[in-house]
Amino acid sequence: MAKATDVKLIDEFGRRHDGRLPEEMRPVSMRINVLDNADGSALVEFGRTRVLAAVYGPREPVQRFMILPDRALLRVRYHMAPFSTAERKSPAPSRREIELSKVIREAFEDIILVKYFPRTAIDIFIEVLQADGGTRTAAVTAASLALANAGIPMKALVAGIAVGKIEGVLVLDVDEVEDGVGEADMPVAAAPDIGKITLFQLNGVLTKEEVEKGLDMALEAIKKLVELEKQTLVEEYVTTEEV
């Protein structure tokens, strides 16, 4: 991966390298019921980023020590296919995958009504099939759909998106090229119907004001994504127009 340091990523008309405006998401598609065996499943695409989520459970935990007497235990695995990245990714779990599995799990602990299912396990398995930036937020979006598809009761639907800063401009839904050269990447996931932000990270440098502005951009977009999720749960498949 050559790092394109000299490339201008915002042109004179304020357009990004793929023609999007700063507050424009990539085309999004959502589909549920894509896997036969899973109790719930979803395939979510943001541009070329493609993430599959499967939910199994509530079910008996594989190992007995994993029982919680008063609630369901969540198991979350964020995993990248070896062919999803520019250079082949080794199948062994990376430190990045371990961290993201944790923050994605924590994005749902307060959302799933775990008290309804004591002594069970709910498994959320996420497979990144193609990575082009924004995989963790696509993963949260796919997991939310797969959980709903599995009939797991939740306080509200969750979706995620990242805001980046490129050449001084805050932009929505950064892709890999933008992430590689940008000054900041701030992934956010939220359940807008109940006002909860469930995943929040910042990699990069922002002023406090930019954090606030970026957060609002993300929350705005998340509202739209949750609307798309609702539509998907009715129609099984939705897509936004091509750029």
């Binding site: 896997l35 070896p82 062919f83």
Partner: protein, 282 residues
């Protein structure tokens, strides 16, 4: 170490007897005959950023194969050949029985059977994968990803592997003065494919042989014979897989039955890939 499987799905008695009595009449639960594979859907080029890819549905079994290539060094004993490395992961989205972790003996067996069938048939021309003889060669990583498991991962994975290899385009590159190879964004050169290869999974259930068992059939089967064929009709690999045994006659009959089912698989590859198929299937 290999252990007798102790967490096998239980097929309810009623379903089991249905399967067996249907087979005795020459029929299957999915309304097909004993020697016909399930519905096949092959789609190549499904992971745009990989150098090659294909997704296959065989009934409800779904397998995705991605091919990534990079530049590496040849093995010492084959300095004039590139490397093809096949790996299989049974990711837990695919079945309630799959747990996260390194490949188990089943995933390893699957990858190795496919690897050998490709290697021994010389399906991909490994000599054409040399960049600088003895020093730099293409390393072709074939990653088999099981998305949904309903039996017979062998045939679904082999079809997806074959389609993904045909779909593969090597990146353009330039040799730097330092001897290093710098890859470019463009990917144009297809792999040189000498042979089209498929496996056929033939299960033995009681005194019957059936082709392309689904999960329930695999579970009640005595054993399975996986036979690999090239498009010229040669046998290019065999693996008895599963706990039971077969007689001499059953093995020979299975190889015969399989060669007919192989035509069905070749036909599906032809339909899916059309002109891109580098060899003419009889």
């Amino acid at each position: 170490m290999s252990l007798t499987p102790f967490r096998v799905p239980i097929v309810p008695e009623l379903r089991k007897s249905t399967i067996l009595s249907l087979i005795a009449k020459g029929l299957r639960i999915e309304e097909r005959d004993l020697y016909t594979p399930r519905l096949i859907k092959i789609e190549a080029g499904v992971v745009e950023r990989a150098e090659g890819s294909a997704q296959v549905q065989l009934g409800k079994t779904q397998v995705l194969v991605g091919v990534k290539v990079d530049v590496g060094t040849p093995f010492k004993d084959t300095p004039d050949e590139g490397v093809i490395a096949v790996n299989a992961e049974f990711v837990p989205i695919a079945s309630p029985m799959f747990e996260p972790g390194p490949p188990d003996e089943n995933a390893i067996e699957l990858a190795r059977v496919i690897d050998r069938s490709l290697r021994e048939s010389n399906a991909v021309d490994r000599k054409s994968l040399v960049i600088i003889p003895g020093q730099k060669v293409w390393v072709v990583h074939v990653d088999i990803y099981v998305l949904n498991y309903d039996g017979n991962l062998f045939d679904a994975s082999m079809l997806a592997t074959m389609a993904a290899l045909i779909d593969t385009r090597l990146p353009d590159y330039e040799e730097l003065e330092t001897g290093e190879i710098r890859l470019k964004e463009e990917k144009k050169t297809p792999l040189q494919i000498n042979k089209i290869v498929t496996t056929v999974n033939i299960a033995k259930i009681g005194d019957y042989l059936i082709v392309d068992p689904n999960l329930d059939e695999e579970t009640v089967a005595d054993t399975k014979l996986i036979v690999a064929y090239d498009h010229e009709g040669n046998v290019v690999g065999i693996q008895k897989s599963g706990a039971g045994s077969m007689t001499r006659e059953e093995i020979l009959k299975a190889i015969d039955i399989g060669s007919k089912a192989a035509r069905v698989y070749f036909k599906s590859l032809e339909e899916a890939l059309g002109e891109r198929l580098p060899v003419k299937i009889g």
